[in-house]
Symmetry: D2
Subunit: 340 residues, 4 copies
């Protein structure tokens, strides 16, 4: 188990600090030669077309440095300052983005829906939306946001997303997908990327957790939204001058489906651990996060063996695998859990 | 002149898209091993101490991806939403940041002062501040911001900054320095970094134009401001999860004064061209930007020789050198201008 | 019952549209002679002293046109844009102000606490505050806001407020009281105004629902907060030029305790109805609002007799009395309910 | 001259604190009977139709308490947070609204145009707009705002407004008229109200300076804008619950053209003084404001006679007449100036 102590002591803490994939490094180095600044370089200009090939729809792609910025810039194309986003009570935008939606949306609210596994449903969305009086005293919903895969590592099925999209359309709401771990969801679902967003108006396509360094993509399927988002990106200080290094990361991730291969590797490691966890699992494992019921004593025992992870409340732990989780580390963790 | 056509055809357009310095690349690669996310990694945690050594004062250092973000986060520690920043009419925050100050400062204004070479003086600042009635009907100044080196490549002398700092203190105004090209100013002045900011409360210390990739530093000399800025950075979507790659860039730039060496190289190239430009210069050349009076015909002639640059109004051009401007390219441009 | 049909058909709908008290009218007319504009007139300048006499503490008083503006301007003195207000899930600022807190606080959040009768307690506040991680990823509370009397017509007892104030002080949180129906609460409690706010930093002192026309008071017990609020009031378009008509309303309400007399009248009318409602009451009646369990058929029967009120969910109704509710109208309603 | 000392010592300071017209008082008193709250009362609901009759176009009317709120709510229907309003350098929204546009427009900028008499022209607007690069680094104009009558008491002629409107339409800019003294302009021009706004999208129709107490009208000639403005009015705390007293003021002002009669009276008083001022006038007098060249000694002499007014710089004074300026007071001032 020595291999888990150093340098891999953080192995199961999160995928958000994993090393950068060698092909991403190579693409960045290959972009070193000067090109036009901001997003006028050749690599940035080629992103739209590349993403259109993936989704089979016209779209605009804007790179930004974080998922928080991606989510908020996407939502800002749909939500007026006096409106609201409906999302799950445990959505990342609600819980872990330091109030960024309030900033980017100029004071708009988040309205919180319920749902197992941090997934909303048409019914739980309606439970939030329907009681809102249609008058100026109450904040009106302008958009719905879902996370694919969810904050508990659950994947929305295409038909689930289609139902949410239909609800959104019927109420004239924008529809946004937070895809911080979109690759993991698509790898699990085995469906097309398009089906994995269910006709959403915008996707935050995450790469950083999946082998990238610092580039996430805001994918906008509406050209007016794209124009607005470009102004807002600059205004938020997110338009980097050496943007080609950002675009290069995304190209590398899309090239030969590296994003899917990386996600599959992380998912496979998670499945190894999931199988060993059995009844301990709080949620079915459909991506690369595991929430495992473990007593304080059990967690201590695992940590004594060199495994690193976050506590999840008082009687559980969260393990996250990454594109580069060594298979033997996953096996070792699986064995250690099984042996408890 | 073939060397100027490709890959160096953009040589004198701007320093903002220049290649990344090899030592910066090396430092980033060396940071590949996973560490704690966000700014909890060892490299990020060591930045304060490193910068304190440079400035001889306690400070806090926050990396961000752009100068716009750095400027606005720094100013947000000084300016209430109902207040204003006094800056030069041609300041980058006024002219080229897409309204970012209005966003980060929640609607605060920029009040515009005059001054040769895009440099304000106590007198031009007072000309803006003094007529403001001290009542709620008029927006009150909360901070002063200067650019070192200025947007016309001029460096504030230490005594000039000290006078501005004294004015700011006397009026209870914050004092911010936009140091997008701070290295070039210090290299020119030959003074200490501390003297080159004149007791400012905050510095946007730029590295991207000087050999970095995507890391600028917000340097805050007030601990309460630092706490606030950390929350605001996250809220603006600028807290990257793999922050160690950001910190690594800054460490590399500071290591063995790479930032000064790079700036000196850029300044030297600019001086070569300046000497040849003589009476054509619109502003004394003190950093790495040149504003040269050139007719349309002359500009065309230079471009025909492979030189790239921006027009500056109808009868001038702007040339910018960078850390990696080849000396022979600078000489070639100097000769070409002299030959006009 | 003819008297309830017209003009008094709206009698129990709300106190927020009741006629203006004759003494308020008289005071406004008496202010007709021109004086200095904004809040520089004699009446506005005398407000601080008058309110200090009432509360026995130094304070600053700013008139504004609505309770929403009063609440939000008060909270803006305590809450940074990246922070949050903790309030009850059914607080007016959360439910009925059209997102105004998000606007005036520049995107700050409302964090929602539980509690019977729309009253929070130290325990329910801690249940919200304690789980918040002290890091930049989560929005931190900056203030607590309570409504006195609450949205269900319940009054906080002085010792309850003192406990909340102690919690707020202990966590360095601001403490705000929304007193849209403050008079009704004080009339019920029979305590001093000071005890009825429990050492709060700011009070929105409501007069419009209690016989005024268009003037609410922001009462700030901190001079720095007052300075800030004055700038923010102007910036929000709430500094009326003929402010003397605003100040006159507040003076009239405070003169000879008109505010208390009016509130006592409204409370007495409510008690008359409460007694008749008996077991039907959803909440004890401590101010001038009644929430009465009534079937659809029963509500229809009451409306057929000329009574006007709002449905409250599917099996209850809300009745609100006002300073000018005719005693015989209250008696008539009481009888009608008793007769159901 | 005793009559000028008290109570009329403030006679020429401003029209913004003048007494309320008796017919406005009467209309407010007549509205005392309870009606539906907010803007659901009969008087508020009748405003649209009444204003449509005046302008001969469909429109929506929202009352608010101040001209600042009216201007900013109107502009918020035209300007995105990343955009800008082009207005005169001395426009009230720039100079005297405490930064309210930055607040209501969520950080949008004001871009400042030149022009004699505080009036912009197509040429001065183009001088601001044309140099703006159409890229995300520069804030783009979204609207033009003019003041009718201007801050120097000048009236835009219908053809001048038509030219500005054509420019705005050609650039897809919104067009707003700040009519704080709209009555004075129309009274001077002798044209229709519609011609006096030249096809603007929105008008802030001022009544407070013209005999009202606390009600200004936002007049919106676009129904989508009206919906948005209604939400934003509530969100800004400007939706008063006893709105009928607001609507009553506006109805009284429009009834039998009281607004025009009052404006004519003020204008006539101003003309009396203007004639006596002759060469001393800094601006032609077209409304109810006079800017008169007067030395410090001369101003002192006038004040010694009981006249009140503001200094205007070091060698001039501003006099403002109102609907209720006594003709003999105007004559007295005229004589006093002539006698200097």
């Amino acid at each position: 188990m020595a291999s888990l102590q150093s340098p891999s002591s953080g192995l199961f803490l999160s995928d958000n600090a994993a090393a950068v994939h060698p092909r991403v490094w190579a693409a960045m180095r290959a972009a070193d030669e000067a090109d036009a600044p901001y997003d006028n370089d050749a690599l940035s200009r080629e992103l739209d077309e590349r993403m259109e090939a993936l989704f089979g729809r016209e779209c605009a792609v804007l790179w930004v440095a974080t998922g928080t910025a991606a989510n908020c810039l996407a939502l800002a194309t749909m939500v007026q300052p006096h409106g609201a986003v409906v999302c799950h009570r445990e959505a990342h935008i609600e819980v872990d983005e330091g109030g960024a939606p309030g900033f980017f949306l100029h004071g708009a609210k988040l309205l919180l829906a319920e749902g197992d596994g941090a997934k909303v449903t048409p019914a739980t969305l309606r439970a939030v939306i329907d009681p809102i009086r249609d008058d100026v005293h109450q904040v009106q919903p302008h958009a719905v946001s879902v996370t694919q895969a969810s904050e508990y590592g659950r994947a929305y099925r295409p038909q689930e997303l289609a139902a949410i999209a239909a609800l959104a359309r019927g109420r004239s709401l924008g529809f946004h997908v937070d895809g911080a771990r979109f690759g993991n969801a698509v790898a699990f679902l085995g469906c097309s990327p398009a089906d994995a967003i269910g006709g959403a108006d915008a996707l935050s396509f995450g790469f950083v957790k999946n082998g990238g360094m610092s580039a996430e993509a805001v994918v906008l399927f509406d050209s007016a939204a794209a124009t607005l988002a470009r102004y807002r990106r600059k205004r938020a200080g997110h338009l980097q001058s050496k943007g080609r290094y950002m675009a290069a990361q995304i190209h590398a991730m899309l090239e030969d489906d590296l994003w899917l291969d990386n996600a599959r590797a992380a998912n496979a490691a998670a499945q190894e651990i999931a199988t060993a966890s059995g009844e301990r699992l709080l949620h079915p494992v459909e991506a690369n996060e595991l929430f495992v019921r473990l007593s304080a004593t059990e967690r201590e025992a695992l940590r004594a063996q060199g495994f690193a992870f976050y506590d999840w409340g008082v009687d559980a732990a969260r393990f996250v695998t990454a594109w580069n989780t060594p298979p033997d580390a996953a096996q070792a963790l699986a064995k250690a859990i099984a042996a408890l």
